[in-house]
């Protein structure tokens, strides 16, 4: 296989120009849409109003479409909640044969279990038909890499504790704390204290110090993770553990997994015939400190979880996001995470996808992993932190030029697939940067700047009515989201349950502010920076968590 250089740095001349062109394209398109519609609102209000109605209608249908899949994904998540993944792992191992009896006894009374079992049976059938025998679970090792730069012990330790509390044997887990050399001494000392505490619990507990300023590296999480992964590769070689049996998980420091995470991961790894060509994407939720943060951040992060839930229903186009897992061999073959890109989580998918000539996919796992909601103390600081975090997420647009270069260079990935995925990636970033403004501000401009000619048309008087109907219908989707958010949130014993639930529902009224200023604006900011070649470096989001006993971990995981 000839290697494709995913990284945008150090490209040859033609590649460099292509890279620049595709870096500029999203920003230009987003600005053209926004400025074009603002200009059209002044110059031809009637046409602008017609375009906006067409857009609103599209947005409404898209909202209903997404809400349908949100419901499906939520139901699937609920159905899998009671699944005994270790039992299924053992079944795949062929060590136990009680599957039939188990599902016969329970399933008929529970629709959820029927669906879960149906999916399982289908997976088993696919595995049986493939010529890819699964490894035994006892031979599978989980490598968990946790990059740390500024995160305090109280942020990363609950996550490590959650690995111990899981169903999958901790003795088959290797934890690597990927510590930045520039980290504070206190953090380094804490890392070693945590290692001492847990080293005998896991198969091994390593601390890898990532030197600062290595050639070709940016101050990015991916560089740290890659350095640790390479170190781990050497470690496993010394231990004679075949890389084909290793599943690597790269977690944000605040990631807390559920007790079934590694069992579920092992199951999906075993059951997938192409297990060396897949990533595994859990559903990220932000429950660690969800009850201690401000309303707008809560709504925002629930929205992020919902987005991932919806994405999970479309595995053909699913891209890895945030904390996720993948075959360690695939990671090695693809050349590890990019060391000079911010969006390492999604970049590794595209890198692997291009490396394996399109023969790479993401399998959604209907288990949750929990992370922290941004909390920087004061209201204003939190807004700034959230803004920066969303801009960093939106910086995922940096993948677009590399992916497009890869698609242009590649000859084996089918063209329809390239067009489909390329368009989805492009459209997602454009809609991210523009829809918020179109819905909250620009959509009203034609009426606001209506000239005499437009204000005497039927459209001038019909448009608000139609828009009103569309927004009222859209509120059905909002109500669905509110109900699902109430169902998805971890249980809490509030002093005034009804009042708190009402407040929680009312927080969703912040949506217009959120979609514009903490949704579209950071995305537009990121695209504009990329357009002008002002590349971002990694910025660690502030996540404060009051020091609390680890026994509260169970509460987080509920």
């Amino acid at each position: 296989m000839d290697t494709f250089q995913f990284s945008p740095r150090g490209l040859a001349s033609r590649e460099k120009w292509l890279q620049r062109f595709f870096e500029i394209l999203p920003g230009v398109m987003s600005w053209a849409i926004l400025i074009g519609l603002i200009f059209l609102s002044f110059s031809n209000s009637l046409l602008a109003a017609v375009i906006m109605i067409a857009f609103y209608f599209y947005w409404l249908l898209r909202l209903f479409y997404m809400t349908t899949f949100l419901l499906i994904a939520y139901l699937r998540l609920s159905f899998e909640k009671g699944t005994d993944w270790m039992l299924r792992v053992r079944e795949v191992d062929g060590l136990e044969s009680d599957f039939e009896s188990w599902h016969k006894s329970d399933s008929k009374s529970d629709f959820g279990k029927i669906i879960s079992l149906w999916a399982h049976e289908r997976n088993l059938e696919t595995l049986k038909q493939s010529a890819s025998p699964p490894p035994f679970s006892k031979d599978i090792y989980h490598l968990v890499i946790i990059p740390i730069a500024r995160e305090a012990r109280e942020v990363f330790e609950p996550g490590i504790q959650s690995f111990v509390s899981g169903q999958f044997p901790a003795r088959q887990i290797v934890v690597v704390l990927a510590l930045e050399e520039r980290a504070d001494e206190k953090i380094k000392q804490d890392a070693h204290k945590v290692r001492e505490k847990y080293k005998n619990t896991f198969y091994d507990f390593l601390i890898v110090n990532h030197p600062d300023g290595l050639p070709g590296e940016a101050r990015a999480k991916g560089a740290n993770a890659t350095y640790a992964a390479k170190h781990a590769a050497e470690y496993f070689q010394k231990k004679n553990i075949p890389v084909e049996h290793i599943v690597v998980s790269c977690f944000d420091a605040d990631t807390v997994v559920g007790p079934d995470y590694f069992a579920c991961l092992a199951y999906h790894f075993m059951i997938s015939p192409d297990r060396e060509r897949v990533s595994f994407q859990p559903i990220p939720v932000y429950h660690n400190n969800i009850w201690n943060v401000r309303g707008f951040t809560r709504v925002l992060e629930i929205g992020s979880s919902f987005f991932q839930l919806i994405e999970a229903t479309n595995p053909e186009k699913l891209v890895t996001f945030s904390s996720h897992s993948m075959s360690f061999k695939a990671l090695m073959d693809a050349g590890y995470w990019p060391v000079d890109m911010i969006s390492d989580d999604s970049a590794i998918f595209w890198k692997a996808f291009l490396h394996f000539k399109g023969n790479y996919r993401v399998i959604p796992m209907y288990v949750t992993i929990s992370m922290d909601v941004v909390d920087a103390g004061s209201w204003w600081k939190t807004i700034i932190s959230v803004y920066r975090q969303k801009r960093r997420w939106a910086w995922g647009v940096e993948n677009f030029p590399s992916v497009m270069r890869g698609f242009l260079k590649d000859t084996k990935i089918p063209l329809p697939k390239k067009l489909d995925l390329g368009f989805k990636l492009f459209a997602m970033h454009i809609s991210w940067a523009t829809w918020g403004f179109l819905l909250t501000v620009i959509g009203w401009l034609p009426a606001l700047f209506a000239g005499r000619e437009f204000s005497s048309t039927v459209l001038y008087y019909s448009a608000p009515r139609i828009t009103g109907i569309i927004f009222n219908l859209a509120s059905l989707a909002l109500v669905t989201s509110i109900i699902l958010s109430l169902c998805l949130l971890p249980k809490k014993k509030p002093k005034h349950p009804l009042r708190e639930r009402v407040f929680l529902a009312l927080e969703w009224l912040l949506i217009p502010f959120i979609v514009s200023f903490l949704g579209a604006l950071p995305a537009l900011d990121a695209q504009t920076r990329l357009m002008f070649g002002r590349y971002m470096e990694f910025w660690v989001t502030e996540k404060k968590r009051s020091v609390r006993p680890l026994h509260r971990l169970r509460q987080i995981l509920k």
């Binding site: 109003a49 109605i53 067409a54 209608f57 249908l61 479309n314 204000s455 005497s456 048309t457 009515r465």
Partner: protein
């Protein structure tokens, strides 16, 4: 799941491509007409808003279920008889044209009560009412002297004597009163102990502040003005010369500027029409001179060779010139709008419209409509004479956001409907004594007048109170500090 997704996707795509064009067509006014002439037809709408709201709409005698404000949709192009009824109010009927894809807008229909209720405000008898434009007060006179003048504040509905009882000007005879829109000061031309002089007065309930300008202003001055943005500097005109007085520094200069035929003030700038036909702008000190028109031939053809022009600067680009003979000119094509007879003008800044009245006509000069369409020859705003049956029109006011005109024609006060598609409604509001001024405030929505029989001050509600909330907030007024004004009374 992929199959379900695909099916759902195509279902949604089909819904979009079918219903989106239909929605847009509906929004544009197209509907499907069944029957023998079936097909897509263009429709129009009628938008109706009334004050007060909640009136019932009848379309060709068919009652419409929604109350005003409302929109009547899906109307085929035609003329429709629209009647609006509200209990205890006069019905409103008109033939309204509807065009396809167009909205016929009746946005400010004023429904007057069956019987207009007059509110007694101050017991008279008063001799006259002196309106002060764009002010929250007006004056009521019981006689000819300053001591017989009453200030009425229509905002607070309070009144007080212009002068305290012990004022030395109690018996001073008023010959003329000058006020400037948006200014809190008044200038009285008086006869005091046999001498004619000017008094500069700031009316105040706690004691008006008066300044004697005798040492600065001589007799025979005309066209005295000051800029509301710089009230301490008063300008006057006499025989082609401009003088000024500064009430703060108590200085002045006679013959400050010579050879002029007209002047106007706006935002601390003075606009001067010179005798040679040039038109300039400069600051109050005479600096920063800027020539706005330097074409003697055009100047002469526009302004002639003699006569004073009162220059009204309404904005930086709307300047009107009102000649002594009632000639009305503007700085916009076609420059000359009335050859003579114009008695007064009133600007409505929100819509850039000027109300113009002569003895028997009322017109509207609409600057917002200029440059419409593509013409080979540039066409400027036009003066439309909307009412031509007057006999002795002396006052006119904009009412309800420029949708109506209230005017006094001799002893009658009328309300004229401006935004109309048919024959405009003219309502007879009340009667006053011939020559008695009236005052209308858009902020209070009331007409103030002296009852002919009792000569008491009365108020007539023209605009319903609740509809005032829909109007823009009244201009904020700040009480001026009298620090530099000497109290002489």
């Amino acid at each position: 799941m992929p199959h379900f997704r695909r099916v759902l996707f195509y279902v949604f795509v089909a819904i979009y491509f079918v219903f989106c064009p239909l929605t847009i067509l509906y929004a544009l006014g197209y509907i499907f007409k069944p029957g023998s002439e079936q097909g897509l037809v263009k429709t129009g709408i009628i938008y109706i808003s009334t004050a007060p709201s909640g009136a019932t709409v009848y379309l060709k005698n068919k009652r419409f279920t929604h109350k005003t404000p409302t929109t009547l949709r899906g109307l085929l192009a035609n003329d429709y008889s629209v009647t609006i009824r509200l209990k205890n109010h006069r019905p409103w009927t008109q033939n309204v044209p509807v065009e396809g894809e167009k909205a016929t807008v009746l946005e400010r229909i004023l429904l007057l009560p069956d019987e207009l209720k007059s509110e007694h405000l101050v017991t008279g008898p008063f001799k006259g009412l002196v309106p002060l434009q764009d002010s929250h007060i007006f004056l009521l006179t019981k006689g000819e002297t300053l001591g017989e003048m009453i200030v009425y504040d229509w905002e607070s509905k309070k009144f007080w004597p212009l002068l305290p009882k012990n004022s030395i000007y109690q018996n001073t005879k008023v010959l003329a009163t000058t006020s400037i829109p948006k200014s809190s000061y008044l200038l009285f031309y008086v006869l005091d102990e046999g001498a004619r002089k000017f008094l500069w007065v700031e009316p105040d309930a706690r004691g008006s502040i008066i300044m004697d300008l005798a040492q600065f202003f001589s007799e025979g001055l005309t066209n005295i003005r000051w800029d509301p943005a710089k009230e301490n500097r008063i300008f006057s005109f006499q025989a082609g010369r401009l003088h000024w007085v500064d009430t703060n520094s108590k200085t002045g200069e006679q013959k400050w500027f010579e050879g002029i035929r007209g002047y106007g003030l706006y935002e601390k700038m003075i606009y001067v029409l010179k005798q040679d036909g040039t038109f300039i702008r400069m600051n109050h000190l005479g600096g920063g001179e800027e020539i706005l028109l330097n074409d003697p031939i055009l100047g002469h053809s526009l302004f002639g060779s003699e006569g004073f022009f009162s220059i009204h600067v309404f904005s930086k680009d709307i300047i009107l010139f009102l000649g002594e003979g009632g000639e009305l000119l503007a700085n916009r094509l076609p420059y000359r709008f009335a050859e003579g007879g114009v008695k007064g003008i009133r600007f409505f800044s929100k819509q850039n419209k000027v109300l113009v009245w002569t003895e028997n006509k009322i017109g509207v000069l609409d600057f917002s409509k200029e440059h419409e369409g593509e013409r080979v020859f540039e066409r400027g705003p036009e003066l439309f004479w909307v009412f031509k049956k007057g006999k002795n029109i002396e006052q006119a006011f904009w009412v309800y956001e420029g949708s109506h005109i209230l005017f006094r024609d001799g002893a009658n006060v009328y309300l004229f409907e401006l935004e109309t598609y048919g024959k405009p409604h003219v309502y007879d509001l009340t009667k006053v004594k011939e020559g008695d001024s009236v005052f209308y405030s858009e902020d209070s929505g009331e007409l103030y007048y002296l009852v002919p029989e009792t000569k008491a001050l009365a108020g007539l509600e023209i605009l319903p109170r609740r509809d005032l909330l829909l109007l823009p907030f009244p201009e904020r007024r700040e009480k001026r500090k009298p620090s530099e004004i000497e109290e002489l009374s």
